[in-house]
């Protein structure tokens, strides 16, 4: 597991010792109850004892799901049963071939096989078994060393669930990230679930852009930042980890699901004292800090409404429209952001927005230059790694 917890423990919190954690886990496993509420408390206890003031507010009714890789090992199976699951799952994959690609530019069988391997990695206690399950597409010589057939393999989801999950992946085209309940993003592993946009690889670059500006600028490094429409909390967490010790981030979202998932992620990385999560539309939760922000980032919904229907099935059928649909031109939210950014930021404050591509970037840049003359300086269009002009950055004048 590649999870790394970066813990910033407030002085009144005692970090939980690994021994106690192990013990907790053990006694928890013994009871055999699988209760999501328990697990989320346990997980927050892993980062700091949950007397923390910013533990999940009771007002949030939604309970975030626990990603597969964080669930306790309360299920088990045998090696041959896992092998049959794998071969069944592979058959399903090979039946797909390139149909998804042709249909809507979805995943091909190579990608799906990799996802299958990752599902196994997240579910199985001992990932060293995976190479022996015959998942490797390019067998060459398949060695079957190490595992006797009677060996019990401990699992985080039942074998039945695994069948169900993989069926959903292929037949319903449920996004892989919802299947395993997490997305690896930058060096983070973020919990995601239906109702929360899965953070995209492109968006990683916003953190790099912020990293570049805070590097030589103490005001920004130790300042107050905001991430609007935070979703899973990805940008807020990414930025909080590169700010100085006095840096703070406010993350907002309209969706209660997103709020609860973002809280879960923030607490998992022990950042609850740095990131404040507020529910509300765009700037409305930020009225009290108007003109005080040092930085503002946002990945708003920017897909033109008419394009939504033709999106890849994983996106169109499963991801929240609220996080995707940007109105007729896709510019509704971006323009709204533009209008208010000048008033929200301090002079010298930095902003970075993600857009749908070159057209939106140019429109926005022109808008800032012509309609809001004198409000911004150094407005810059930055491309993503696919060379699509993706981001608009600049400073408040």
């Amino acid at each position: 597991m590649k999870t790394t917890c970066f813990i910033r423990v407030p002085s009144f919190c005692t970090p939980i010792s690994p021994i106690i954690r192990k013990h907790l886990q053990k006694s928890f496993n013994k009871t055999g109850h699988y209760n999501q509420n328990h697990i989320s408390t346990l997980n927050s206890a892993q980062t700091s004892i949950s007397t923390s003031p910013s533990s999940p507010a009771p007002s949030t009714s939604h309970k975030p799901q626990t990603p597969v890789f964080l669930r306790p090992l309360i299920y088990s199976s045998t090696f041959p049963d896992l092998q049959s699951f794998t071969s069944w799952a592979k058959t399903l994959v090979s039946s797909v071939g390139s149909t998804f690609v042709q249909l809507d530019n979805g995943s091909d069988s190579t990608l799906l096989l990799r996802e299958l391997r990752w599902l196994l990695e997240d579910s199985i206690d001992d990932p060293s078994l995976i190479p022996h399950l015959g998942i490797c597409q390019n067998g060459g010589i398949t060695s079957n060393t190490g595992s006797s057939s009677t060996e019990v393999v401990r699992l985080r989801v039942s074998l039945g669930q695994m069948y169900q999950l993989w069926k959903q992946r292929i037949q319903e085209r449920r996004p892989f990230q919802y299947i395993v309940g997490c997305e690896h993003w930058r060096d983070l592993v973020l919990s995601v679930e239906e109702g929360v946009l899965i953070p995209r690889p492109e968006t990683e670059k916003i953190v790099d852009l912020v990293g570049n500006v805070v590097g030589g600028n103490e005001m920004l490094r130790e300042g107050l930042w905001a991430d609007l429409g935070t979703g899973s909390g990805a940008l807020a967490i990414g930025i909080a980890r590169i700010l100085g010790k006095n840096g703070r981030v406010i993350a907002t979202d309209l969706s209660p699901t997103a709020i609860s998932v973002a809280k879960f992620n923030v607490e998992r990385y022990g950042l609850q004292d740095i990131i404040e999560i507020k529910q509300g539309s765009w700037f409305s939760p930020l009225v009290h800090v108007e003109g005080e922000l040092d930085g503002l980032v946002c990945n708003p919904p920017y897909i033109p409404s008419e394009d939504i229907g033709s999106l890849q099935a994983e996106v169109a059928k499963h991801e929240p429209r609220l996080a995707l649909d940007g109105g007729v031109e896709g510019m509704d939210n971006l323009l709204h952001l533009c209008e208010r950014t000048a008033a929200m930021l301090k002079p010298g404050g930095f902003f970075a927005f993600e857009t749908n591509g070159e057209k939106q970037c140019r429109l926005l840049a022109n808008h800032m230059e012509n309609e809001m003359t004198g409000s911004f300086r150094d407005v810059n269009i930055v491309s993503d790694f696919a060379d699509i002009p993706r981001f608009l950055t600049g400073f408040c004048d």
Binding site: N105, T110, R200, E202, A323
Partner: protein, 542 residues
């Protein structure tokens, strides 16, 4: 008479040995010599006849040349009590007891023993005047003996190799097999040491040390004598090993003649220990290249020939994975480009572990497969190729090339469409291009783009480093095999599965008739054979 000899020696050459065969002990001292053991590296009985000891002391960097005051002086205070033999004569060139008494930092003692071989239990201890601080030290001692170690019936290491006794498994209790294995190892170690060159250098150093005015420049003299000592140390170690081997052979023959089963089995055990020991030493000698201890990347690329070639590339990659697992190396797939139907077009794996590069570098080159292709419905025989490159991952960060951010072009791999919120994909691979060299690297097996980028960057860094190493190696005219750019003409090994079964290394002519075991990762024979052949090449080089 001794006085005369000493003075003459001192005038002509401080270290001129009175007789050609001589043991040299050089102690570079740094603190008190009390109870310093000067043991010879092997513990055997020895005999000393007419031995001479010169003990030139010098304070600080300045040597104090004095004629020996008396033989008793040194023998009383330094050595005699612990030398078992009667006929030793010792000389101190510093001579003056008071100086030694006050001595604040005697930095070096050089003792010459004349002895047919090495010494046992020579102790140098200072049992007088506590005020004196003789600093202790690094002891370098070795034999200058020109005599080749041999058994009573004249068997030497060279001859043992010449006999070409079959080397059986370790478990077989056959002294000839053990002896042959040990002799092979010794031979290899000598090659690694570049024995002939080493001997020449040793001659030069001895000649230098024999110059009468050598100690006029103590810094230079110290340097020379240290190098001399260090080389002698190596020579001595090998000689001692040879000597041990010869003695054990003598012993086992004796035991057989006398029907002493216990002695025979003891000696056999000792031989086996020596065999294992020499194997270890041999490996040390084989893997002493600059980057041998590094982890590495192994890259396999399919040659022309479509699916059959790609399947072969996958088999080769699988062979390395299996080999790496046998050796306990960590294996990570960094990049893999699968073929359309089967196999791989290209793949990169990372091997983490000590000496991964040192071994794997032997595999760089083109591997050729001959078999009846399972992908050919006509069941015809096909020949396909896969190229293997091995790149060390430099441990020393300072020796790496600094790659400037502005020299890089980073692209989304297999990008298409609008991207961003439009697409949900778990594919986040990037390709990084180092613009000045045109070197590229890709990673697609991590679960985030950030991590893919980091892994690809690590590959790129190593490739750029390797290019630089190759450039430097060419400049130094020490172009090694592993760094040779892979061209399809550079075939190193052929795997024939049909019509007969054979794997043959074209560089060493090492071959086995069981391709399956090789493809399952049993590569050590090939690797070791190549590595030792590479040593031969080094030795032949001017």
């Amino acid at each position: 008479m001794p006085n005369l000899l000493a003075r003459r020696s001192y005038l002509r050459s401080l270290f001129l040995p009175p007789k050609p065969s001589i043991d040299v002990f050089l102690i570079h001292t740094q603190s008190e010599l009390r109870n310093t053991n000067l043991c010879s590296s092997n513990s055997r009985r020895f005999s000393i006849s007419n031995s001479f000891v010169y003990v030139p002391f010098y304070l600080g960097s300045k040597m104090l040349p004095h004629t020996p005051k008396s033989s008793e002086f040194v023998s009383n205070h330094y050595c005699s009590a612990h030398l078992h033999h009667q006929h030793c004569q010792f000389w101190s060139l510093s001579g003056k007891a008071p100086i030694l008494g006050h001595g604040c930092g005697v930095s070096s003692i050089i003792i010459y023993f004349q002895a047919p071989n090495s010494l046992e239990n020579v102790k140098i201890s200072s049992e007088y005047n506590r005020n004196r601080v003789i600093s202790n030290g690094v002891m370098l001692f070795c034999s200058h003996a020109a005599v080749e170690p041999s058994t009573s019936d004249g068997l030497t290491v060279e001859r043992i190799i010449g006999n070409q006794w079959t080397i059986l498994d370790e478990s077989a209790s056959d002294w000839k097999s053990h002896a042959s294995a040990i002799a092979q190892s010794v031979h290899l170690i000598k090659k690694r040491l570049q024995w002939k060159k080493l001997m020449v250098r040793l001659e030069q150093l001895s000649a230098e040390l024999n110059k009468p005015n050598i100690w006029d420049d103590p810094v230079h003299a110290g340097k020379i004598s240290r190098e001399h000592g260090s080389l002698m140390g190596k020579v001595k170690e090998v000689k001692a090993f040879e000597q041990d081997l010869c003695e054990h052979i003598d012993m086992i023959k004796l035991a057989r003649e006398e029907g002493d089963a216990e002695l025979e089995s003891e000696t056999m055990k000792a031989l086996l220990r020596m065999r294992r020991d020499s194997k270890e030493k041999e490996l040390d000698a084989l893997l002493s290249g600059d980057h041998d201890s590094c982890s590495c990347f192994i890259e396999v690329q399919a040659g022309a020939g479509g699916t059959e070639s790609m399947d072969w590339a996958a088999m080769v990659m699988q062979m390395y994975k299996a080999w790496a697992q046998r050796h306990g190396y960590g294996v990570t797939v960094v990049d893999e480009m699968p073929g359309e139907i089967a196999g791989i077009k290209r793949a990169t794996i990372k091997l983490d572990g000590e000496y991964a590069f040192g071994y794997a570098k032997a595999e760089a080159g083109v591997h050729r497969l001959v078999r009846i292709s399972p992908f050919d419905s006509g069941k015809r025989r096909h020949t396909s190729f896969a190229a293997v490159a091995v790149i060390p991952i430099l441990e020393d960060v300072s020796s790496r090339i600094q790659i400037s951010e502005s020299d890089l072009r980073i692209e989304r791999f297999r990008a298409g469409g609008a991207g961003g919120q439009h697409v949900n994909t778990t594919e986040s691979a990037v390709r990084i291009t180092h613009i000045p060299t045109g070197i590229t690297a890709t990673c697609q097996n991590e679960r985030s783009q950030h991590q893919n980028k980091a892994s690809a960057m690590a590959v790129l860094q190593s490739r750029v480093d390797q290019l630089e190493m190759a450039r430097q190696a060419q400049m130094n005219a020490q172009h090694t095999q592993s760094l040779t750019e892979i061209s399809w003409g550079n075939q190193i090994r052929t795997y024939v599965l049909h019509p007969y079964q054979m794997v043959k290394d074209l560089r060493t002519n090492y071959e086995v008739s069981d391709p399956d075991s090789v493809l399952e990762g049993d590569l050590d024979g090939f690797i070791l054979c190549f590595l030792s052949a590479a040593l031969d090449k080094d030795e032949d080089a001017p």
